[in-house]
Symmetry: C2
């Protein structure tokens, strides 16, 4: 059994917990939190909740520690720190800072003889893998990534900070016509506005100026001003009844040409339709936790990404079984 620890018990931590329960060779041993442990109720009866401070003393009890904090401030500090004590998986998703994060984690993990995977999930993660495979198979081609329809937590939070807004759920929606043009092999040049629209469901405070709120949303730089945005004002009851999930997904598409005269076009599409973004992310992380445990046993230490790990390491089946049943 691979003994798993989870640090951070928000949406992602709960998603990882669900995923671990689906893998028969894995066992959740402990959840670590910065909160008062007695205030955290988990779903796994056999696991215990500890304060973060206990992490320094439990290195013998856990094969892989999964870090479920945020990319802005938690992971840049936590992943290198705990890579010196544990094999670690994180879902660091600030694309621009990945090289720096990788170097920090790699140094810590190598010095301690530990194995780590950073930026694990679906984007970065499964989408990255599909970008890489498709680029290698079709070197003469063009990449497209569409996201949604799905809830963007960052955009929902941004709207919540507007004066008079009690709650918001923001959906990122791919433009179907743009996706169809890409799938047809036309290689369109698409602006930000042509690829995605944004849809906001907003609960306003009583008496708030709805026209002002709608205008503030639509003109917000970086988040909304480059998109066509629709704003719906709804009640708290409607929010709870219709927008309590965290669905997401999207498509990675690469089109490319082959042939003596580039006469043949090929389209590769990888598409995810997810009822729960954090549970699917947790499921990807669990598979890579298995790989991390196995790589470490083989002495392959340091920081890895999904690019560096042979797919067979993700499976609990043997090479013989994989070749017989999945090849």
């Amino acid at each position: 059994m691979i003994k798993v620890g989870i640090f951070g018990y928000g949406n992602l931590g709960k998603g990882v917990e669900c995923a671990v329960s689906k893998n028969k060779d894995m066992e959740l041993v402990a959840v670590f939190t910065r909160r008062d442990p007695s205030s955290v109720k988990i779903n796994t009866a056999s696991a215990k909740v500890y304060h973060e401070d206990a992490l320094k003393d439990m290195t013998g009890d856990i094969d892989v520690l999964i870090l479920c904090g945020g990319s802005a401030t938690d992971l840049p500090e936590q992943t290198p720190k705990y890579a010196s004590l544990y094999n670690v998986v994180d879902s660091f998703d600030t694309h621009a800072r990945i090289p720096e994060h990788f170097a920090n984690v790699d140094n810590a993990a190598k010095a301690a003889g530990k194995t780590c995977v950073i930026s694990c999930g679906w984007d970065p993660g499964m989408f990255s893998l599909n970008r890489l495979y498709a680029n290698c198979v079709l070197p003469d081609g063009k990449d497209y990534t569409f996201w949604g329809k799905g809830v963007s937590q960052g955009h929902s939070d941004a709207v919540r900070r507007i004066d008079g807004v009690k709650d918001c759920r923001q959906y990122t929606c791919p433009v179907e016509e743009a996706m169809d043009a890409v799938r047809s092999g036309k290689n369109p040049e698409l602006t930000t506005r042509e690829k995605h629209t944004r849809e906001c469901f907003v609960v306003a405070e009583e008496g708030a100026d709805l026209a002002r709120i709608e205008n503030e949303i639509k003109t917000m730089p970086n988040y909304f001003s480059d998109y066509d945005t629709t704003v719906h004002f709804i009640t708290e009851e409607e929010m709870k009844a219709n927008h309590s999930g965290l669905p997401h997904g999207g498509s990675v598409i690469r089109t490319g040409v082959t042939g003596v005269n580039d006469e043949n076009t090929h389209v590769i599409e990888y598409k995810l339709t997810l009822d729960s973004n954090p549970e699917f992310t947790g499921s990807v992380i669990a598979a890579y936790a298995r790989a991390v445990a196995r790589l470490n046993k083989e002495g392959q230490t340091g920081c890895k990404t999904v690019f560096d790990i042979a797919p067979a390491y993700l499976s609990d089946l043997s090479g013989d079984e994989l070749r017989a049943h999945l090849l």
Copy 2:
């Protein structure tokens, strides 16, 4: 430069040649044939055509030899034989015999210090990879593979053997309603007949009994009797004008559930739409030829499949570049 040799210059050999020309770090050195070399005209001016016999003397000239023969009789003999002289890639696709083929190639390659990849292409190949990744990420789920719309060479050949048939092109077509039911997460149980239909375009000999031909096609065991088949009789001119390509493709779909009460459904779909089956297969093979050359330099010998190779090996970019641009 990775120096590539191709053995067998049919549709697949030509597809590999096109693919090599798209990879700037690869160079086609030679094409080997069992025919009279002077009868084989290739598209790469800088490469030469040799008889198969020359293969025993050219081990110093070629980094990776790509075997483009058939799976029925060519590859079971050729791949183990040449794995003792070269790093080799093949596209062996007789699923039931893969374990035996793997063992034969592995023994030969290990004894000679060579690195080989077998069963490389899109199915087996990219479809297998996607089955594996999706199974690892969603352990509680169900797999579906749909093929087409595309030309099946085996079914086209079977029809051509019927008395009175001059030519045939057979298309395998996925049933859209079945795919939509799968994509909706309904986990349908589908019979062979419910998943695919078959469509035949037939050129008959003058005066042939068309009703008899149609009946022989539709009732042919293994090939057609389990499917709903449509037969169109066309002229040779129509065949040439409308059915000269070798398009193919399909979808690997896995649906699975997560959550405390399995309340969330996820759908992973990998879809290929290919103008040319052999050129796309050749493109996958070229990427794995790069991996084989690199693995052999690192001393990782023996037989591999797509499951055993970390994706980064397929790319000519460095780890730093991949992390910065594709993760």
